[in-house]
Symmetry: D3
Subunit: 148 residues, 6 copies
Amino acid sequence: MTEQQSGIGKTALQLVLANSHEIKEAEEKVQATSYRYCLGKTGSMELQKVVSAIETAAKRNGLVDDQLYREMHALYHAILEAVQGVTRGQVQLGDVMRTVGLRFSVVRGYPYPNSKEGEWIAVALYGTIGAPIKGLEHETSGLGINHI
Amino acid sequence: MTEQQSGIGKTALQLVLANSHEIKEAEEKVQATSYRYCLGKTGSMELQKVVSAIETAAKRNGLVDDQLYREMHALYHAILEAVQGVTRGQVQLGDVMRTVGLRFSVVRGYPYPNSKEGEWIAVALYGTIGAPIKGLEHETSGLGINHI
Amino acid sequence: MTEQQSGIGKTALQLVLANSHEIKEAEEKVQATSYRYCLGKTGSMELQKVVSAIETAAKRNGLVDDQLYREMHALYHAILEAVQGVTRGQVQLGDVMRTVGLRFSVVRGYPYPNSKEGEWIAVALYGTIGAPIKGLEHETSGLGINHI
Amino acid sequence: MTEQQSGIGKTALQLVLANSHEIKEAEEKVQATSYRYCLGKTGSMELQKVVSAIETAAKRNGLVDDQLYREMHALYHAILEAVQGVTRGQVQLGDVMRTVGLRFSVVRGYPYPNSKEGEWIAVALYGTIGAPIKGLEHETSGLGINHI
Amino acid sequence: MTEQQSGIGKTALQLVLANSHEIKEAEEKVQATSYRYCLGKTGSMELQKVVSAIETAAKRNGLVDDQLYREMHALYHAILEAVQGVTRGQVQLGDVMRTVGLRFSVVRGYPYPNSKEGEWIAVALYGTIGAPIKGLEHETSGLGINHI
Amino acid sequence: MTEQQSGIGKTALQLVLANSHEIKEAEEKVQATSYRYCLGKTGSMELQKVVSAIETAAKRNGLVDDQLYREMHALYHAILEAVQGVTRGQVQLGDVMRTVGLRFSVVRGYPYPNSKEGEWIAVALYGTIGAPIKGLEHETSGLGINHI
Ligand SMILES: [Mg+2]
Ligand SMILES: [Mg+2]
Ligand SMILES: [Mg+2]
Ligand SMILES: [Mg+2]
Ligand SMILES: [Mg+2]
Ligand SMILES: [Mg+2]
């Protein structure tokens, strides 16, 4: 990676880890790079709503072209990989009686010095997972990366 | 969580994400909390070396009592959960022709305001995963959390 | 395998891979063997509908005796194994926001020269998997084999 | 383990394996130990109902304190581990067209001679799994153990 | 199941759960049924040694005919299903730094009143799993069942 | 897909399914398309040898540029997906006492009418899986597809 630019995955993780008072600084840091990104929140017992929320945000913010399956395919697999970090074993939420509250980021750009490596996409997740009862939860995180 | 203290998982992730010039600040931030922690590096095509490196570091730094299975059991499952974020699907490295280079952190403490919730342990991983050829790799991360 | 007869799995795969103008030839080829078979189509975001469609077709076509759990058990595990080829990692469809359109075949017979090896059953799947939006999909396939 | 006391996992398994005429003897055997336990039945095509039935029984019988996430977390992971023995591969029921009828036990206590090892919890499951048609089913079992 | 005969899975589990002073009684109980069985012990960090030990014992005791793939296939999948109860998530031992010490039983016979259901095979496992250090381990169990 | 050209996945599957007397015809059929491909054989109890054999063949035949991680990454994930169809559940061979003998194909090209969808890669596997004893095996197959 170039010296002036963090990895695309680290960038994505730092965006979801930033507290409310750190988020402005974190966003400015990314804006100084060549990466494009979006940020959002999602919470559900239904995994498909989590997948869908991230896909929708990435499309609306122009991070992926929803007319190109190639781009949606890259994003989809990056999301699924990130979700595996969150669910750690069974890619399931409500079916095993648990729910998530997550912040997500999607970052797109050129993470390798060799421009022929082209664009890649990173999806980061951070939040809580636990029983569908307030407080019965612990933190969780995931990172998925794919070429696009 | 108390207002003055980040989650135990976020703390663990920030430690592994810190660059060399950020690490001092990241460590001071943790030292200002009631959490105890250790940091290390490990790289291998053999998953058991990764597990072992984290266990050894946690024992040497007094984060777990290796005479108590209870503590080793809590740590072990936290490690395995973190590894699932890194491997995303198959908890395997060399068997599927890939290798990792990881920074790891182990953080222990009281993450909940209610002291009866007792101590918890977080294991965070961040680094690269890829073919056993320099440069053919992308970033990866994982977080595991358990009561101890 | 005998020289005059392909493997039961290859037979099942060739049936689902045949285009509309090849299907007659493919079926005649199987009819010249001692294998019995059925063919069908199924498409859904619900995995249980896929499982159910194959079970129903196999029962209706007399490939399995639905009064014998032994036979249903053999078929069920063959279906699940074939589905794992289709889903590659998480045996899930709608829960991870994807849908399938599949052709399936079930083939039953004696694939080994030694008649004591008895009957076996093969389930083959071929079609598309992807987002629930026309065109955002790629091909997928699976094969399950069991003794019956 | 002490000589007079079986393992906590064996105890949990023996409770779910006892026939109606053996159950009294099995319960008396546990009552002679320092373990606390509860027993129940659950049957469903929905995995979350199975998880929920065990959690509810454990809470009602005072085996876990539902005001402490620490205890619910220990129980939850023990349940999930037991469920993996029952489902063997995909932690799913109705999604893959199958249903369970299970007896469950939850046992809590000190299984190790060293009292510093503290309390542990075991969840045992035994019953049938199969198609949602009476008789098309075989036995299944699972055991999950965690420190609490 | 007939009234005089327990399920084949329960029979297999009771054999591995019996203590040294109970084993004679447990064996006599099975000998009064039409089931055939064998018992053994295996311990390893290598999963393939566990699989191999059970296969060898079943062959030597005439529970399966090793000249018939059909029988070895039925046994193999029953073993793998039982192992999934033992490993709960990743079918791995040494790769994730853990070892097992197990008792195993293989039981073969007619578990259903309808003789057309034919013979089935059950594999039960019970013992300990944990770090490769004496005492750092907890109990584990698994049950696999297949038609043969 | 264009009318004159089969899907990239079907093409890959037909190449590995062709018998020795059918292979010439199957190859000619692919050569009439715009797809590029290679064919090979691999057999092992070590999964990494299977992965490695396919990667090496794809590199040597110029199907992927081994100086571009982007291409190796696309190929790698396609291989892993194909392997999941072959292993159906645990991505393991020798560790669970089984071996494979496989034919593989790698096909690269433009499978979608819209040229903006760019190139994709398909990996197909077909052969046998079973005990490391001649004859104790059944057929197996897998298909992985990725954008490149
Ligand atoms: Mg990757
Ligand atoms: Mg947890
Ligand atoms: Mg098989
Ligand atoms: Mg454990
Ligand atoms: Mg079964
Ligand atoms: Mg895909």
